[in-house]
């Protein structure tokens, strides 16, 4: 019986031009606007079952018993699986530390942990059967923050840790700790004319990708399974799935299905193993689709953080030193917490020259929801705090906040706190200059249309809460630094297979990688690279699957760099083969064949001077050149566990924002009027697409500035708002115009000089908005997101995740 909704190849024919640097349109665009593009939740198989997950209703408890009898007896139910049904000795998984149970084993550690899975003939049958499973929980005390997690006698989230971080952490409830010490912070503090300290709180943000977790597992005749799923990294999934199923990796064949956004939230597994287990047990295809409620429990979130900073400066505006302590809440399982710690620590000083630093970053194990990858990955939390510090330092010195930043801005050649030299352009001062030079949007735009105030342009919008009374404007600036690619010595490679052949007289390139297209437009850029390198118009992108080598993750702003680099590298090798063939066939006819400088352009072999030597159709005839090669960027090193020194990062990425806000000070409502961005992208391979990335990243930064927070009850550690009714992401009415200024300063170490671009705009957006609100209101505002009660001073902070109003700053 057929499976429908399997991904198709994406071909752009000869009418599409578009090498690198052009705003080529998406090859999947037509499928996506007609509704034909098949997302993982659209997969279908005629006799498939629906899977459902039973999740814990409490955060921390021993499981005394699980009674599945009634659920299993429900008509239409085909299987109910618990921990006892797991088929292999391996029963845990995890990105770096295998601490996450596939199904709870005697204990749950956070609200919403999977306890059992059900397969039934209708999703509602599965849901109702799940409600009949009786789990007897004996609740345990929870740890929810640093104080409770490290208190004497605190319950351990994971007993008997044996992972490679367990030996160097000061407490078993600390996943990983990374100090960085450079220079003499204490000595430098004595020379400072002003010292500014601050405590900052960053709330828990959700990726809130629109396409919930989903996939289809189809059992195969060889005892294996075919899995169609939306993920960020097929091969990382495979490495975690196969051992739990007790299958060799070649019997778990994975294909990327359509992905409805990711932003880090699909780096960890969700339904993958559960769907395969149910399919293998029932012998039928099993589809699992989370609804939004379950999605909030089905993936990790951005780490909430508490950050303490101290900066000093001399009267002439030079930063003397920085001390900071960043405590990230990793929740119940490790996910990517260790790498987030490394990022937070190594990027904690921001894009500034600071020679004396004393830095500590750590992630906790608690009974809160697990946290891991989200766009900006540790750098976001730090940027929020150090940019607030910059404004406060500038104010203390009586300097303009932008000029103060420019005075201390890093540039090419600056040493990071880790001792790593920034060895490509770092135009921090220039980015700030550009956003500042832009004309400010006109005041009181709500009056622009006529005499009546247009409430759509005011805080509160269509709620019609003000016609301008009590509304004040503010302007704020921020700049950030993000690493690109996987760091700290990780073997961060990608693989590309490229085939060049002549079909119906036309040369055609076929590109096959395992890169997860999650919406970012990798498939567009990959075709552009193939066109540029092979001089062909027709390019076909094959569906991503595990029949080709790993492409690494679609995260860390890395896919254009690394998989793009792999395609470029493979295309170059294909070109060499083609030229070899040409030399063999035609070398005697023209002396130019013997020179090295031959190119492929417009389907022909040409000299550097443009002379045509032969058509590709004549060179190749019925032969195909087909190569699969791996490609690596420059290696990185681990950070020293004591000093934090080491060349840990591949590349750095910079963006600056200017935010203009209007605040209704009576109701505490904020309208972001404009968010201007300037970003250096090294080389814009596709300007339309990279501007879209920058605008999207900026908007996620806006979300966590004024709207988005997963609220976790501090007493029960339960999630209070797992829905789009209660977890608000920006609508088109909340989002302002976002003018983008692209810089293209080449990084000589990267393919085409490009700089990974996806994450940097998410960093500085949030602190720029916070700075603008402070500028408008005079409030200190040391937490994000800002809620109305923080602006009116009327409410109490009921979330337990920190204080809002810090009183008014001194004039």
């Amino acid at each position: 019986m057929p499976t429908t909704g399997t991904p198709t190849s994406l071909s752009q024919g000869s009418r599409t031009s578009g090498g690198i640097g052009e705003s080529t349109l998406r090859p999947d665009g037509t499928l996506k606007v007609t509704g034909e593009f098949a997302y993982s939740s659209d997969m279908w198989h005629d006799d498939m079952l629906w899977g459902h997950t039973l999740r814990s209703t409490v955060a921390h408890a021993a499981i005394r018993s699980i009674d599945i009898a009634e659920a299993l007896a429900t008509p239409g139910v085909h299987a109910v699986l618990t921990y006892d049904d797991l088929p292999a000795p391996v029963k845990n998984y995890g990105l770096e530390i295998q601490d996450t149970p596939v199904l709870a084993h005697g204990k749950v550690r956070h609200h919403g942990e999977p306890v059992a899975v059900i397969a039934a003939d209708h999703p509602e049958t599965a849901r109702r059967a799940a409600a009949k499973i009786r789990v007897d929980y004996a609740e345990l005390p929870v740890v929810t923050d640093e104080a409770s997690a490290t208190a004497p006698g605190a319950p351990l989230v994971h007993e008997d840790r044996a992972d490679h971080h367990s030996g160097h952490v000061p407490h078993p409830n600390i996943v990983h700790r990374q100090p960085i010490v450079r220079g003499d912070a204490a000595g430098a503090a004595a020379r400072a004319d002003v010292i500014v300290t601050g405590d900052y709180v960053f709330g828990m943000q959700d990726q809130a990708f629109l396409g919930p977790e989903s996939g289809l597992a189809v059992p195969a005749e060889d005892g294996g399974v075919d899995l169609y799923v939306a993920t960020q990294w097929l091969h990382s999934d495979l490495r975690q799935i196969a051992p739990v199923l007790g299958l060799p990796e070649e019997k778990v064949r994975m294909t990327l299905s359509g992905v409805g956004g990711a932003f880090g939230g699909r780096e960890d597994l969700s339904m993958q193993i559960h769907g395969c287990l149910l399919a293998l047990r029932t012998g039928k295809p099993v589809k699992m689709v989370y609804n939004r409620f379950e999605s909030f429990f089905g993936h990790v979130h951005r780490h909430p953080a508490r950050l303490h900073y101290e900066h000093g400066a001399t009267r002439d505006g030079r930063i003397t030193h920085m001390k900071c302590r960043i405590v990230l809440d990793g929740g119940a399982y490790a996910s990517s917490s260790p790498a987030v710690v490394g990022n937070a620590a190594s990027l904690s000083a921001g894009p500034y020259v600071i020679e004396n630093v004393d830095i500590e970053a750590l992630a906790l194990y608690t009974n809160n929801p697990p946290c891991g990858a989200m766009r900006g990955f540790g750098a976001v939390q730090a940027c929020f705090a150090y940019e607030a510090q910059m404004d406060r330092l500038a104010a203390a010195l009586g300097l303009d906040p932008v000029e103060f930043r420019q005075l201390n801005a890093m540039e090419q050649g600056t040493l990071m706190p880790t001792g790593q030299r920034v060895d490509s352009p770092a135009p921090v001062a220039e980015l700030l200059r550009r956003v500042k030079a832009r004309p400010l949007p006109p005041e009181q735009q709500w009056l622009a249309a006529g005499e009546e105030a247009d409430v759509r342009a005011l805080p509160g919008g269509l709620s019609n809460t003000t016609h301008g009374e009590g509304v004040v404007r503010g302007v704020g600036y921020a700049v950030g630094i993000k690493n690109v690619g996987f760091s700290e010595g990780f073997d961060d490679y990608s693989t590309a297979r490229v085939r060049l052949e002549v079909i119906a007289g036309e040369p055609v390139a076929v590109v096959h990688t395992a890169m997860a297209e999650v919406g970012q437009g990798g498939v567009t850029v990959h075709a552009q690279i193939a066109r540029t390198e092979l001089g062909v118009a027709q390019v076909t992108i094959l569906p991503a699957d595990t029949r080709v080598g790993s492409a690494g993750s679609t995260s860390a702003s890395r896919q254009t760099y690394v998989t793009g680099g792999a395609i470029k590298h493979t295309c170059e090798a294909v070109r060499e083969r083609v030229l070899e063939l040409g030399r063999r066939k035609f070398g005697t006819y023209h002396p130019a064949w013997a020179t090295a400088e031959l190119l492929l352009e417009d389907g022909k072999v040409v000299t550097h001077g443009g002379e045509v030597l032969a058509g590709l159709a004549d060179v190749l005839e019925d032969e195909a050149v087909d190569l699969e090669l791996e490609w690596r960027h420059r290696p990185t090193e681990a950070f020293d566990l004591r000093t934090g020194q080491g060349n840990g990062h591949v590349q750095y990425s910079f963006a600056a924002h200017r935010a203009v806000v209007e605040v209704d000070t009576e109701l505490g409502l904020v309208k972001v009027v404009e968010l201007a961005v300037a970003q250096d992208v090294g080389k814009a391979l596709n300007p339309l697409s990279v501007i879209g990335q920058i605008q999207g990243g900026t908007t996620q930064g806006l979300g966590v500035a004024v709207m988005e927070e997963i609220v976790v009850d501090p007493v029960t550690a339960k999630v209070r708002n797992p829905s789009f009714t209660d977890y608000l992401i920006p609508t088109i009415l909340d989002t302002p115009t976002i003018p983008v200024d692209l810089l293209e300063l080449a990084d000589e170490h990267a393919p085409y000089g490009l700089r990974g671009a996806g994450e940097a705009p998410t960093l500085s957006s949030t602190p720029a908005i916070l700075a603008a609100i402070r500028n408008a209101t005079g409030l200190e505002l040391n937490r994000t997101p800002v809620r109305p009660e923080h602006l009116t001073g009327t409410g109490t902070d009921s979330s337990g995740t920190g204080t809002g109003t810090g009183g008014r700053t001194a004039p």
């Binding site: 752009q12 037509t30 629109l210 609804n291």
Partner: protein
Amino acid sequence: MRVTFTVNGREQVADDVWEGESLLYVLRERLGLPGSKNACEQGECGSCTVRLDGVPVCACLVAAGQAEGREVITVEGLADYARRRDSGVSDSGASDSGRSGSGERGAEHPGDGAGELSVIQQAFIDAGAVQCGFCTPGLLVAADEMLERNPSPSDADIREALSGNLCRCTGYEKILDAVRLAAARQEEAV
């Protein structure tokens, strides 16, 4: 129960529908029309926007039984619906006014009228308004309906009309561009 209604101009019959099923479930899982997306199941995100007797609704909030005897347009039928509208209900004379850009579909199916996109669909591609695309079907149905009512919308009008459709990828700038572009192309075609 049995539900009979018209989808994209064709009468459809769904059998064995459980009373609690939504219109969205019946479209996606029983009628093989998965273009309308399920992203929140509570009417907050607009990804499942379809037209029910011409009115944009969240199909997740409409019980399947409420669609009995009524007419539904989904993203799968949007191009055809726009073509009929532009040519005054007759099914001939497909409007070509909105086509520009690379037109991959045109390259694959030259001269195939059934493959023509509506103005708003082509504008979304050309303006870069599609990233992951999960919000796109709902936005297209909502934007098309707005342009039908208001062919020359201001930016504030566009924002108001699309405020029930969440997008997590684009920051909405290119969606605004797309709607402006579609409005301008429609105006040219008149």
